[in-house]
Symmetry: C2
């Protein structure tokens, strides 16, 4: 049902490597399809976009007007929700906004004794494209988490694309778009939507950055247009790593493992615990609770193929293994999580204490749920306001400063054989 | 010699588009070569790395020991410099360090009324690889600009790779590595060096991020390993855009245009000015000064193919065109650059005032000279300390907080059909 590993066994590191192994499976066929789609969108714009949408999403649109949703329709979608849903969505949006406002960066400068001013000017991106998957993976919470940081950053125009296969729209997704300030929605998806956002069409304006998750065609297209526009990370399957001292209710831990596994068959749920008895209890909870779950088939496959209950020597070893894994979600289900925090080096988000289950953070605690996966927390960060702001260096050298800096620059430019650099600096020396 | 454009002409926008057009010319042959190199490095590690290095760089190394440079050798390189060079390098390094220390971000948290704590933990990357090109483009200043922000961020292990074709090392580059705290140097380059850093070999440890410029093979390899490791932007040719009010010495402006053009034939130098007479004077200065330049052939080609002197209606239009171009380097050669700053939306670095030529910033003013090219300043930033730090969200929900957030999360999870998410949250409600 779920693999059990023991960190003391000699083959443990080999088994752990196999467990963690993941490479996105783009292949040359996908790459060629995506290249063709991008070329066609660049050549004929709206026409190609309507054609692809009719073909891939089984639609029958005549023009882009039929694939556009205006703000009034988004508001209508919000208005149809029941009060509990409205309140939940609104509260979540408010909390996400409050948290992200703390990430906003401001322009800074400093002036040296000779009057030379240095600094960095911070500005929002002008226009951002937000990709929202259609079908079973259409999550309103994902709209909040991508759109709100962009709006907090000050992005003027936020364009959302969401495929609506067979013309089925998701009212919660549209309501979330309304509540988080999305400016325009187009019901297109796939590599064709990415290409339209990156290069622009007659109807869809060219954006500066594209964020949001998608299938292999979307991910491949994002990789191709990277450079033409900015992109966020290319996400792998979602993962949770739980470190538990063996004193949390085992049903809670089992359900937390399920909450990751229910996403899809590739999702990864791992428990690290130094208490062998507790690991057996969690296993028993899994066996007991699994039949009660609606998505039990998905959960069972994910746990069998990619899950593990790992017995560690002690809590210190659990921390060290966690740093090696660099998980997307890390739950510290222990009495004093603060005491462990210094030791944690790599994780997308850290859920501290027995009452902080991952799903609170997924929806409404405030921090972003778009997090680095597959060990990329070693070098990347949660999506944030900083992804929608950019910086320009500021350099204003005083007449006096130019005398000093001119000499240094000229010396170094001579060393690099760059005569014009040197001469340009020397002109500024009195 | 250099194109002259007038923004009032009806074909101006077409001509400007042609002038700015740039797409990196990776092709399927390069992509296949890079894929093969990466596969071989992953399969046989050091052996493949030594083989490729001997073949591509005309070396005769027996093992990686012969392709390693230790800190003592770096120090020797620094010691051989003359006093003026030592001082210039040291002063530049100190100024770059001072500026970048202002970019360092710290962990932050806040606690809500019910005791719930939220925040973000900031940590440095563990290990970074720095690619430094060999041959004619081996710039010690580039070592400073890439290495110092990493060290300021707190990166423990900084590994530099630099090819040494025909076994020729550049003493200034090694001295710069010494002064900026590089930990280890390997004399390898190309896609094979990128692959070695991304996946590790017996000798080269796997890094978390690779930064630094390189040729088309290096850029293609970086794009392929993106995701396995972090990478910085993939740079296009360097560019300068000068906005001048017509009152700067035209020789200064001509030399500033040269200082970009001398980098290589693809470099781009553009002047925006509302004064037709001044544009003629700059053209005359170009004609007068070009024959005095050592790199006159490169400069002439760059100016002819990619340069332009553009007459604008007024200074406001110059600013608006500058925002459209989103230049890497923007020089505001005017009396009151501060007054123009609010209008500038997109630029890698802004050089303010007649005494602030770009080359001061390239070497020693303090800000980074690794900047977004080809219009990518619309969505990206100078290299900085923030590229070598990453963030982990912190979420510690109090027992009381879990009651409130649990209800909201459960409602939203139900809406998304994620039962385990909902149940996991409900367990935490009293």
């Amino acid at each position: 049902m779920i693999t059990k590993l023991n960190s003391s066994h000699s083959d443990f590191q080999d088994n752990l490597s196999k467990l963690l192994a993941w490479e996105s499976v783009s292949n040359s066929e996908v790459a060629q399809t995506v290249d063709d789609i991008i070329a066609n969108i660049r050549n004929t714009g709206d026409k190609a976009l309507v054609d692809y949408t009719n073909r891939f999403d089984r639609m029958n649109a005549q023009n882009m007007g039929e694939l556009s949703i205006n703000t009034a329709t988004l508001k209508e979608a919000f208005d149809t929700l029941d009060e509990q849903e409205k309140t939940a969505l609104k509260t979540a949006a408010d909390r996400v906004k409050t948290y992200h406002q703390k990430q906003k960066q401001d322009t800074w400068t400093y002036t040296e004794d000779d009057g030379t001013m240095l600094g960095q000017k911070i500005t929002p991106l002008d226009r951002v494209g937000l990709y929202v998957p259609g079908g079973k993976a259409a999550y309103p919470s994902s709209v909040l988490m991508n759109a709100i940081p962009a709006k907090v950053a000050g992005v003027e125009e936020l364009i959302m694309v969401v495929p609506t296969p067979d013309s089925v729209t998701n009212q919660l997704v549209l309501a979330a778009a309304y509540i988080s300030g999305v400016d325009t929605v187009f019901t297109v998806g796939g590599a064709q939507a990415v290409a339209a956002l990156a290069y622009g069409t007659q109807t869809i304006p060219k954006v500066d950055k594209i964020v949001g998750p998608g299938n292999i065609y979307v991910a491949t297209a994002k990789r191709v247009v990277f450079g033409q526009v900015g992109i966020d990370m290319i996400a792998g399957p979602s993962e949770i790593l739980i470190i538990c001292d063996g004193k949390t209710n085992p049903d809670w831990i089992a359900m937390d493992l399920f909450s990751q596994a229910e996403h899809d068959e590739d999702a990864q749920s791992i428990l690290l615990c130094p208490d062998a008895d507790f690991i057996d209890q969690v296993e028993a909870s899994i066996t007991k609770l699994l039949p009660t779950m609606k998505r039990k088939a998905i959960i069972a496959t994910a746990l069998k193929d990619r899950g593990a209950l790992i017995l560690t020597k002690d809590m210190d070893e659990a921390i060290s293994l966690s740093n090696q894994i660099a998980p997307e979600h890390l739950e510290l289900s222990v009495e004093d999580p603060q005491a462990m925090l210094d030791g944690i080096k790599h994780a997308g988000a850290i859920f501290m204490g027995r009452h902080t289950c991952e799903s609170l953070g997924d929806y409404c605690a405030g921090p972003n749920h778009v997090l680095p996966t597959s060990g990329t927390a070693r070098f990347s960060s949660p999506l944030g306001v900083y992804d929608f702001q950019k910086k320009s260096s500021l350099i204003m050298v005083s007449d006096e400063g130019a005398n000093v800096l001119g000499e240094i620059a000229a010396t170094l430019a001579d060393g690099e054989g760059l005569q014009a650099h040197a001469q340009s600096a020397r002109y500024r020396i009195k």
